[in-house]
């Protein structure tokens, strides 16, 4: 098996320089097939330019980008790619069904298959009653839904979703989450660009943080990376010696009455910590590991002053 077979996206020192500005400095990224990948960063970090380069809309100044094992400039590979642009716009004189039909045909689907696929998709995104309505009469949320449907019309292997939930109400957001999960189940890869960190936290397997056109950190959200660990303990009879003794396993500890917040070095130390507290005479009521929320992690990586 070729090494690239395991990767949906692989970039190496990808760079885009506009006249006076470096939009993407040095992007090296790998996304495995079948993964739900979150791409995070503050405004102006180079997220959109990176996505546009992967989709062949913007030509890289230097570096390499392979998508599904082929160079991103390859037109044929787009047959296997779906894309929902941020602020989705389309010919607003088309009806919902006509839009899906057009996109399907552009993807090389035949009319017989489309006759079957279009109503199914409209049903899936909750727009079946509006199939004959022109897009100019659609609300932003409805446009987002039809945009999602056009990205999925040809059952692509890799789907780029740029801010898919931005115009949606809670029901719409839930729909997007369900759709993303359904894509994972059928083995597709999803590349999600979103500002809504809570959404990313719920849906993504892997995230990369981009700052000033470079990946500055990445996290596997399925694993519990030790560096981001917190341990919450609620106990009585906590002696100062018992708390001080925790320094052996923890980098920091903070006590507030019965509440003890710890930053352990490794999950492997949890039994030792518990034993230590019990043997020091503490009565334990709660002992709960906490993961650093994505938002806290984002702020930690990007720095406090950078807004989203």
């Amino acid at each position: 098996m070729d090494q690239s077979d395991g990767f949906a996206i692989q970039t190496e020192n990808l760079r885009k320089v506009y006249e006076s500005k470096i939009a993407v400095r040095n992007l090296s990224l790998t996304v495995r097939r079948g993964e739900i990948f979150g791409f995070l960063g503050p405004n102006g970090a180079g997220k959109s330019t990176s996505v546009k380069m992967l989709l062949g809309l913007v030509k890289p100044t230097s570096g390499r980008a392979d998508v599904l094992g082929l160079p991103c400039s390859d037109v044929g590979v787009r047959r296997k790619i779906g894309f929902l642009p941020e602020d989705f716009r389309f010919y607003d004189w088309l009806t919902a069904a006509e839009l899906l039909d057009l996109h399907g045909r552009l993807c090389g689907m035949d009319r017989a298959k489309l006759r079957e696929r279009v109503p199914t998709l409209l049903e899936m995104v909750g727009l079946a009653p509006h199939r004959a309505k022109r897009l100019r009469e659609f609300s932003k949320g409805m446009l987002q839904r039809i945009g999602l449907a056009q990205a999925l019309i040809h059952e692509p292997e890799l789907i780029f979703l740029d801010e898919p939930t931005s115009g949606l109400d809670p029901m719409g957001r839930r729909l997007v989450r369900d759709v993303i999960r359904a894509q994972r189940e059928r083995g597709a890869t999803v590349f999600l660009n979103s500002h809504l960190l809570s959404e990313v936290e719920i849906t993504c397997d892997q995230v990369a943080f981009i700052k000033d056109g470079e990946v500055v950190a990445s996290r596997d959200l399925r694993a519990q990376p030790d560096g981001d660990l917190r341990l919450f303990v609620r106990a009585t009879k906590l002696s100062p010696q018992a708390v001080a003794g925790l320094a052996k396993w923890c980098t920091a500890s903070q006590q507030d009455g019965e509440r003890l917040s710890l930053s352990p070095r490794s999950t492997a130390d949890f039994p030792e910590i518990l034993r230590h507290l019990v043997s020091a005479g503490a009565d334990i009521y709660e002992f709960a590991p906490e993961r650093l929320s994505l938002e806290s992690l984002f702020v930690k990586i990007m720095g406090e002053d950078r807004g989203l």
């Binding site: 546009k52 989709l55 062949g56 809309l57 913007v58 030509k59 037109v75 044929g76 787009r78 047959r79 790619i81 894309f83 642009p85 602020d87 989705f88 716009r89 389309f90 010919y91 004189w93 057009l102 996109h103 045909r105 552009l106 993807c107 090389g108 945009g147 056009q150």
Partner: protein, 276 residues
């Protein structure tokens, strides 16, 4: 395949947009006015008992005026309908969902270009057909060499369309419109200067006209087209938009054809290279 899909979409878009229907209504209104005018002119001929030769020449002249008006309508409509075809879609982001499909950039551009050609050719045919039909029914006159003249009008509109597309690949919609209409205006003025120069025997003025035709050969195509469709007597008129005292040569027509091909090639190259 993608090319034909884009051609189809462009045609469907034209049919659903107001501008084409407004153009058609304007054309029909013009034809109605024109037909009425010609009707009263012919009635006057009968009252004055003009000899058939003079009658023929006058109606032929009225036909030239009609062609001139519908040519202008066709040029303006070509620019107005196509000016945001590329630049508008780039600036609104509409192009993103299309250009990320398995379709090459040149297919996207040529597909749209062909859609507009079909629309323009249809419009010119309808409008010229209308003028010819009125000339025949009301005045009993059929212009000469229609099949040699009208294709040159097609070529003129396709040239304007191609330059509009070329501008659209690198300029904003507004700037594209200004540049194309500006170039056509320059060619129009140049055409007049060339004719005045020819009439007054002023080689420098003729040279200015020729240079402006080289910069934008659209007006030359029109002047050659009308020259083809004139009666020999009208051709002998000194100058004017319908005068043929210095009709562009066949070399100019070949130049205009080459100009169109090069402009299209540059448009494709620009569109292929640019970031969307």
């Amino acid at each position: 395949m993608g090319l034909w899909i884009m051609t189809g979409v462009t045609l469907r878009e034209a049919a659903r947009k107001r501008i084409l229907w407004i153009g058609l209504l304007a054309g029909i209104a013009f034809l109605a006015l024109y037909g009425t005018g010609m009707h009263y002119q012919v009635k006057e001929f009968h009252e004055r008992h003009l000899p058939p030769f003079i009658r023929y020449q006058i109606i032929n002249g009225i036909l030239q005026v009609g062609f001139y008006a519908v040519d202008l309508l066709a040029v303006v409509l070509t620019v107005l309908t196509s000016v945001d075809a590329i630049s508008g879609e780039i600036s609104s982001g509409t192009i993103h969902a299309i250009a990320t499909k398995p379709i090459r950039r040149w297919e996207l551009l040529i597909g749209k270009w062909m859609g507009f050609i079909a629309m323009t050719v249809g419009y010119v045919t309808l409008m010229f057909g209308g003028v010819v039909a009125l000339g025949y029914w009301i005045g009993g006159v059929v212009p000469q060499n229609l099949l040699r003249g009208v294709p040159l009008v097609f070529l003129e509109c396709i040239l304007i369309l191609t330059i509009t597309f070329l501008c659209g690949t690198s300029l904003s919609t507004l700037a594209s419109g200004v540049v194309v209409l500006g170039l056509h205006g320059l060619a129009f003025l140049g055409g007049w200067l060339e004719q005045i120069g020819g009439f007054t025997n002023s080689p420098r003025l003729v040279m200015v006209g020729i240079v402006s035709s080289l910069i934008m050969p659209s007006e030359s195509l029109w002047r050659r087209a009308i020259f083809e469709m004139q009666s020999p007597a009208t051709r002998s008129l000194p100058f004017g938009p319908f005068g043929g005292s210095s009709a562009p040569s066949a070399v100019m027509i070949v130049y205009a054809g080459a100009y169109l091909v090069v402009a299209l090639a540059i448009a494709i190259y620009h569109f292929h290279k640019r970031d969307l």
